[in-house]
Chain length 466, copies 2
Amino acid sequence: MPNNQTTVDGQHVAALRDRIDPDGRSGKVQDSAATRIAYCRDFGPREDDFLPAFVVFAECVEDVQAVLSYANDHAVPVIARGAGTGVSGGVNASENCIVLSLERMDRILEIRPEDEVAVVEPGVVNGDLGDAVAEYGLMYAPDPASYRQSTIGGNVATNAGGLRCAKYGVTRDSVLGLDVVLADGTLLHTGRSTFKGVAGYDLTSLFVGSEGTLGVVVSATVRLRYLSPESRSIAAFFPTVEAAAAGVLAVGRHRVQPAIMEFLDAGTMAVIDAGFGTDLASRGGALLLVRTDGHGARVEEAIVREALTRLGAQLAAAGDDIAARLIEMRRSSRGDIQDDEYRVGEDVAVPRSQLVAYVHRLSEIATEHGVMLRIVAHAGDGNLHPTFWVAPEDGADGLERLARALDESVRGALDAGGTITGEHGIGQFKRRWLGWEQQEEVLELQRQIKKLFDPHGILNPGKAIL
Amino acid sequence: MPNNQTTVDGQHVAALRDRIDPDGRSGKVQDSAATRIAYCRDFGPREDDFLPAFVVFAECVEDVQAVLSYANDHAVPVIARGAGTGVSGGVNASENCIVLSLERMDRILEIRPEDEVAVVEPGVVNGDLGDAVAEYGLMYAPDPASYRQSTIGGNVATNAGGLRCAKYGVTRDSVLGLDVVLADGTLLHTGRSTFKGVAGYDLTSLFVGSEGTLGVVVSATVRLRYLSPESRSIAAFFPTVEAAAAGVLAVGRHRVQPAIMEFLDAGTMAVIDAGFGTDLASRGGALLLVRTDGHGARVEEAIVREALTRLGAQLAAAGDDIAARLIEMRRSSRGDIQDDEYRVGEDVAVPRSQLVAYVHRLSEIATEHGVMLRIVAHAGDGNLHPTFWVAPEDGADGLERLARALDESVRGALDAGGTITGEHGIGQFKRRWLGWEQQEEVLELQRQIKKLFDPHGILNPGKAIL
């Protein structure tokens, strides 16, 4: 019923404009084709090709409340989004949905340097918060590769990780409290603004990572960490993947907790070489990039350099800034090309001791199914991002091989005691595997929690849980 | 109907013996008066004086499942407990309840040093886990003052904090996954055994800190941290409370994150002096105990010493082990005497910048209401433990003054942007203040979550939420 649908949507548009933008000057409610297309998806794969009926650009808490309570009354799906840089399809449009963009709510409401706390609206870009607190010698620790684009609201929705989180924790570890609008428009205050607090159930953690399916975050109180006065970066080329994985464990055995410890295989080095004109791939079969920070940065650097050299690594000269530059290049080594149906980046995590065995398994899988593979990993966390791809000219057969390889790689991570998603979230794309990881009782409990928070099922339906 | 009740209890005892201890040899089900008295409460204040109908000592997951599913069928309250060292009345008996002790489930199931993970039963004593992983150069970070008695299960139930948590996080930050028996006996597996993972809702964090009201933890997968190769302890005596609080902020401004940073006022020093024969109280009006660790321990020690000296602190000589011994004494400076109706220890937290103002407020309150006061604080967290007391001979009037002082101290913490409980939990005792901190919508949502997990309300009724 496309005609009828258009009419109904038109009524919704008019009704919402009336409520939040009566004189129509701020363009808070937009239904042009261009806007609907621009806001229909994130950087992940798509299951279908719906466009939102229209897009609302909220500018304040009351706007969000108005949209949700209206949508709840009329049973219209609402998909809240930040910058749309997610890679699991977490904000892909449903049929006849409203996309609720939080990008205009981008104010840093408070920075309290002595309390080491900031309060931000959801549309604040991660890197902008980092810049703002840096002048106080502080940092917002979670640093997804998308930190220059992605928003704190989106980071909270996906419980985003990043390079620094082996030492400083993921988004959940930095969120002290939230203001959240529930499906019916109620404004809820969870958590606290102190570092510690155990009053009642941990609703804050329940919202973090729930991908907009339980409520819409309109403000976050976050803990800041110390911006290290010094950091030291180490680039260690290893002859083999095995030797590099041994290096990861050796760093741990020397009781050094690096701020960053990234693993790059030959294929990933080749991508960086192609993009930046470097010659990494000629220098070894695997690369570890390690950064130590804090007041012990130099002591730890010396320990790491010695431990890795003893394992046969070739190290860039100390003090050479090649390692620091490589870490920046690595940040952009996956986000360069949007995934499509012929190329999919994965996000599994395994216990650290399983890194070597799992990397081997990935190679076997790629060979077995005739697909291309390269791997980058947050090695300190055991969080791997293998990328599988086939040539588009392989057509349907290539896609089938790709799908089988993906399935087996995920199964392999679970067999190794791991998880199907280390930091990207389930979104729409990974629901296919969620039942492999979680028992039916857990799936059912999640459904019931969802129903409790969102009885009419308007909040980002078909995402995050199964 | 005491007689009738006794009969019903007798039936329950027989039925449960039949299910989990048919030959009666292991004494899993006990109803002697001595046992019922020993297991009727924790170290916190009591609201009433119920004894459990009987006590079950579970030895395996199946025992817990049998108890809960039986209790669920017969609508009998079940209060799970570890060592009973809590101080908020979280395991105080309800009328005709079963107390379910997990202390016999005390096996460390796995230690995986390379993964930096351990899997433990709930009855494992915190300090025993620490000892077991120390030989691998690892530690279990959360260290409540009760760590030599309290169990991991109890720590999980209360989301226990401790001295080290400013740097290493609270219990929640160390729990990766849980096995939990739900009210109906279902065994649920939450979380994962990798450091990172974002599949589905964070049920693990929902159980952590829920004080046995949503389920009974039968196994925990915990993250271990590096046992520092070196640590340096600093004892800094300040002329005034204000100067010591300025010291806390100065350490932060120098971007040092100490492993421990404890604040002791004159009253707390006097308690240590009385217990250990020291002469702390003669050396200043407030004491900061700071411990730096990690590979930067010495660098950080030097920074802290200089910063505190500049603020007028008198420091114990570097290398002198007085500071390390004082930290151990401080661990026992509150747990020495069980609180009673005339003496209550509080557990508020405030933003760090509010420490001085709040300490002043506490003094005013004590003077105003004629009650005694001493304060110890995990200063790095802004988590204060004021102890208020009156002389028992003051009788009812004293108790009234004590109650008013307590109320005002809690109100003062909230006014300062803080919380009514930093690490002890709500239990039974602090429910009186929960409505001051949480809006009705949060209270109601918690009630609904409780109902979802425990429809018959058998799990630790009357605790944790309002």
